[in-house]
Symmetry: none
Amino acid sequence: MLARVSSAPTFRRLPRAVREQQMLDAAVKVFSRRGFHAASMDEIAEDAGISKPMVYAYLGTKEELFVACLHREGTRMMHAIAGAAAPDLPADVRLWRGLRAFFGFVGAHRDGWAVLYRQARGEQPFAGELAAMRARLVEVVAGMLDHALRTEGRQVGETDLEVVAYALVGATESLADWLADHPEADPEKTATRMMNVAWQGAAQLLHGETWRPPAV
Amino acid sequence: MLARVSSAPTFRRLPRAVREQQMLDAAVKVFSRRGFHAASMDEIAEDAGISKPMVYAYLGTKEELFVACLHREGTRMMHAIAGAAAPDLPADVRLWRGLRAFFGFVGAHRDGWAVLYRQARGEQPFAGELAAMRARLVEVVAGMLDHALRTEGRQVGETDLEVVAYALVGATESLADWLADHPEADPEKTATRMMNVAWQGAAQLLHGETWRPPAV
Amino acid sequence: MLARVSSAPTFRRLPRAVREQQMLDAAVKVFSRRGFHAASMDEIAEDAGISKPMVYAYLGTKEELFVACLHREGTRMMHAIAGAAAPDLPADVRLWRGLRAFFGFVGAHRDGWAVLYRQARGEQPFAGELAAMRARLVEVVAGMLDHALRTEGRQVGETDLEVVAYALVGATESLADWLADHPEADPEKTATRMMNVAWQGAAQLLHGETWRPPAV
Amino acid sequence: MLARVSSAPTFRRLPRAVREQQMLDAAVKVFSRRGFHAASMDEIAEDAGISKPMVYAYLGTKEELFVACLHREGTRMMHAIAGAAAPDLPADVRLWRGLRAFFGFVGAHRDGWAVLYRQARGEQPFAGELAAMRARLVEVVAGMLDHALRTEGRQVGETDLEVVAYALVGATESLADWLADHPEADPEKTATRMMNVAWQGAAQLLHGETWRPPAV
DNA sequence: TATGAATGAGGCTTCATTCAT
DNA sequence: AATGAATGAAGCCTCATTCAT
């Protein structure tokens, strides 16, 4: 009987950290392609090249897995932004760099982050995770606006600030969606457009030029 | 477990149109509360006080039912807006009235429209339906901007227009979400805030004050 | 083309009440044969000649199904006993008739009740249901003892009564197990034996002949 | 989800006998708390502070492990009883001491033996093991009764003896259950009560006072 | 000796959808 | 017109058990 030739390095039995990343890669891919509900744990496991029980052992429930995806991708995005927009720069520069980094990230992960994020908005169980992420963003943006306002010697109610920040974040998310749907679009150009809308609008507010509803 | 329920003495043999509205009411309610996937045809039928086969006979598949909901609620909203913002008014007045009507509608259907809409964004099968609705909105907004621009003797590339309109619509949707989540918030005030962001930003654009990325 | 001959009465589409009994019959059979855990819903459904979803629709979870079995069989047994031991008879006659009815029932359902009951004692989720049933029995027995004692002009502490009743019930259950495992054994004879142990022991107690631990 | 735990700095490389006892301790604990099926090898291994393959290497299959638990605890109990009830004592003294030792043991291992035993009664695979243990007990009790009968110059059929012994053992088990469920109860008092029921009842039988079913 | 990595198999449960009355 | 009865299909999750280091 011929000796069994040792098979080429098939890379079985990898350490946990590696497998976890493989799983998350697969999960992001499948969740993005199919959506949370239509995605099946079977497909994710198969795509990760591993058996289902391992996915459960390492990353838990389908929901927990989705949250883990959100977490990893969200953290990556946050890092990309934070690395670009240092807190000691002037507000407009920070905003611009932040936006550019954001759209750059989204553009580079067109089938990862943006789609994932879009899925999450509609599914109740992820409200918490998402709210936290968006809250961090809103807070940052509101902080920038507030800082700029104070520099101009002005001040605005907290709710006003929050709502405006919310609108800006919403507009940005909306453009991110748009970008994800238009593979040929240029992230930087999109960032510029958003900057135009955002900054010009905000600039007016900063200068006290408030629009008021006409007397009906 | 299917409980044995004594059938309620409801009115049988209603005309089809009435029954359909009852079903849609129930469907909107259940879809909003549970989300598309978590909603079950059983619950919808029960909530409508009717048997499942009737739902299928009248409104088809679960997906078709959801689309029907989207359709009815979307149409109602469009009517509300269109009725408020006559096309012969000046752009700013139209925008204001449109926004006010929109947020008024969302505020009045906090658990209907906004939630439904949010659900739909994440589910692939409804991309088409939603894209159509948003496209109509974007088109209207872009038209308003374009009209105003031309009045000023200026003109902007089509993509630019679309993207800005997209941003405005996105910001508005975002605030609609916020409104849906804050039952105590005042729709009119929210509309005012949105108007501030939108109009001030747009106004700058209209006057040619474009922000440009700094030379890196 | 030949007309399709109407198939012989295959008895599809039976009313709910009938199907429920069929399911319970199958469930009792399978649970008894395999034990709660080893029993599979698949086998139960197949044995009942129906699809699994119907079982869930009518009788709920596996646990709920088991409880339903316990309930039905327990109730039947209680009826058998109650019908035999009228409350206006003297205590010894009641006890005798009750025991005879009990062992008769167990003997007639050797693969139903006794086995089911035995399964239930070990599984945590059914503690409640079982405790309730046994409590009813213990209460009845204790009542009989108490009644007899009072007739003799004597009285015993409540805990004493409960514990003695518990012991009698335990002995009875034990013999029921024995009977279930010995298909050839005669229920009536077993009842007589149990009566001997129980009544003679109780009789002594009734006459105040208490055993006391010797001085160590 | 398998949490990433830094391995505790336990003592490695213990002698086999020690490790086995650790495992059995853990197994008894987990089986008692969860029941045979709900107990997982994972939890047992973790509770024993050891990896799963070791459990399999030392004690085999889950079933074998359970049997090993039953064995160890049962043997301990038997020793406790045997040590207390020397075979050369009079029957009543033996019975009393045996019962006292038994309930003392159960009381001292409320969450070990009694619960384990209760689990085992319902699970088919352990019928054999349990039957053996109970048979030994029944035999001992029957022997005592027989011995006492012969002392009185009387004799009873073997089945009669077995059944009566079975009833006594059943009553005792039942009270053991009761004791396990009532942490505040006093084992010695429980033993006294059982002795009353058992001995009084048996005593009558020994004296030939047999109860007979009335001619119906 | 000791363990982290890995999986085959199988069970429970749910749901959209349709049939027969 | 209307519904109770019925199911095929599929998904999540868990677990006992073993391999390779």
